[in-house]
């Protein structure tokens, strides 16, 4: 893979690790992930619960839980996140990089109106008068499809429907025109027709903005993103352009995810689940973490972890060919 023609990365993650101390020792939630996001890229980070995808997202904003030990290199728009002081991180968060969470109700401040949260965020990062900030807030709410935005400014988060709250959170993430948006399961709690609206919104976002969409759902990733990274047990196992990854998945885990997903073109064909369950952090087996669930695993897989999916595009001793179904 040639990197000479690529624009410099706006997010540069080098061998990122996120570890927690538990009563049974160190549990690594993220076990060495290297990803570079280019300006304007739409990238999905796909994985099941416990894959480490959320911790990786939080590490980019420096908001992992206080008990987490983060190591490696995390550079966001030129700022070294692991070395930056609090003031620098405050400027970065909400200005350069912002995050959309799954649960808007707990991410928004419950005792302040939607308008005051938007106005405050706009004024924290730009030298705006209250009136200018208010104008900007109404503009951004309207742009994310909130009808009667001026009226909604006076609402408290709990007074809004789930879909509206999610739009408010996206507006809050977008109000300072960030270079990077990290959206963690932004539609998982929403009804199908509302999910479609929010995905539409993410698709319609400015091409200047870099999007990292964290999701458990490959189909949602495929709706919005051009590149998909697949994580399993804290590691990247495969990445590639979305269409290629879906049509010719090479890692047995990616292939398993595709075969397990319900679809409309195979009437009541038996879904092919992946046997077993992912390991819990701290219980990761020696060798390839997927080996205990993998139909192709042999002695080598159970002893030696394949090189991570950064050097090659697939972290597997026995990558497969052809379609998964």
């Amino acid at each position: 893979m040639s990197t000479v023609t690529l624009a410099p990365a706006v997010v540069d993650l080098r061998d990122v690790r996120v570890a927690f101390s538990t009563d049974r020792g160190i549990a690594e939630a993220v076990r060495g992930v290297t990803i570079a996001l280019r300006p304007g890229e739409r990238v999905a980070l796909v994985g099941e619960s416990g894959s480490g995808k959320t911790m990786l997202g939080l590490s980019m904003l420096g908001i992992t839980p206080p008990t987490a030990r983060v190591s490696g290199g995390i550079s966001v728009a030129g700022t070294d996140v692991l070395a930056a002081d609090r003031a620098a991180m405050r400027r970065l968060r909400g200005g350069t990089i912002s995050m959309v969470f799954q649960d808007a109700l707990s991410a928004l401040n419950p005792v302040r109106t939607v308008g005051s949260q938007l106005v405050e965020s706009a004024r924290r990062h730009h030298n705006l008068s209250r009136a200018q900030a208010r104008h900007r807030a109404i503009e951004i709410l309207t742009s994310v499809g909130v009808a009667a935005a001026a009226e909604r400014m006076r609402a408290y988060p709990h007074e809004l429907s789930g879909g509206l709250r999610q739009r408010v959170m996206i507006a809050l993430a977008l109000i300072n025109d960030p270079q990077i948006i990290v959206a963690d399961e932004p539609t998982t709690a929403l009804d199908a027709t509302i999910q479609a609206q929010v995905l539409d919104l993410l698709r319609a976002m400015s091409t200047q903005t870099t999007l990292l969409l964290i999701t458990h759902d490959l189909a949602v990733a495929a709706e919005v993103c051009d590149t998909v990274y697949v994580m399993y047990a804290g590691r990247l196992v495969e990445f590639g352009p979305t269409r290629q990854l879906l049509d010719r998945p090479r890692h047995p885990y990616t292939r398993g995810l595709i075969a397990a997903a319900p679809r409309f073109d195979a009437r009541r064909s038996v879904l092919r689940p992946i046997p077993g369950a992912p390991p819990r952090a701290g219980d990761t087996p020696i060798g390839c973490a997927f080996a205990p669930r993998c139909p192709f695993a042999d002695a080598q897989c159970r002893q030696v972890d394949p090189p991570p999916a950064t050097i090659t595009e697939v972290a597997c001793w026995h990558p497969q060919e052809g379609a998964s179904r």
Binding site: A192, T193, P273
Partner: protein
Amino acid sequence: MTVQPVPILSAEHVGVTFSLRGRPLHALDDVSAEITPGRTLAVVGESGSGKSTLARVLMRAQDVRHGRVMFDGTDVTALSERALRPFRRRVQMVFQDPYASLDPRMTVGQIIGEPLRAQRLASGERLRERVGDLLRMVGLPAEAAARRPGQFSGGQRQRVAIARALAPDPDVLIADEAVSALDVSIQAQIVNLLREVQRARHNAMMVISHDLALVYHLADHVMVMYLGRVVESAPCDDIIGNPQHPYTAALLSATPTLDGRGERERIVLREGPPSPLNRPSGCAFHTRCPIAQPRCSAEVPQLLPAAGSRSVACFYPGKLAGRTMADLTSQEEPR
């Protein structure tokens, strides 16, 4: 032609009204549903559609204002809790959250055996054997009986919940979003398990889900609900292959899947569903419907039989499905 199978559990023209801050909330309005042995009915809809209220009505956990609930030829609508006891055993439910629905202090063996003990269906060695059989049926090892729910993953807990539901040998299994909290790879395990169980036991099943793609792999018949009413009801293939109600078409279009639908027609609806407290006049969907006409806000479309075993409540059935986005926008212009 085989003989038309007789439903074992049904709701007939059921109406449920709650009172919220003094205002009536019509949770269910003239809803009928039939659950038949060996077959799976899926009820699909978004929040506020009334799908979970319908499940509670069928479980006799929710009283009705209109209509009745029939079980195995008996009207169970007004039966006392005591008279309902045999019914309680024969209709079982699996819930969404396997973390909240299992008592963490009990062993899996106790959890599964509890309904058997409570109903005095088995005890001692026979109880242990039965628990072992149930564990095997849901794909868990016999040793699992001695462990507690905390030692299992989400998918394994849902297997335990299914084993508990199957313990009293029910005729009807109602699964309320039973797989939606699980990871994709595990979801498929539980979907297949529910199908295997049904093939082996021939029980009737009702699946409540917001996910049409999952439903496609489970159901024989699908009922689509919107704000307390059934808008379309049809065999699964007809719903997925040829939706007639615009809401069904929109729901189908809004469901992301990995299949080769490629550049499928995207129907993106405006806003969210209105509050059930402010149900729009006429067809409740008209405020979001891309093809709504003046008549739709004035008159309530009845759920009428269409071709096959389909019913649809729309004045313009089939007018939205199969159109291109260009057709739709040009349709919308003059309004």
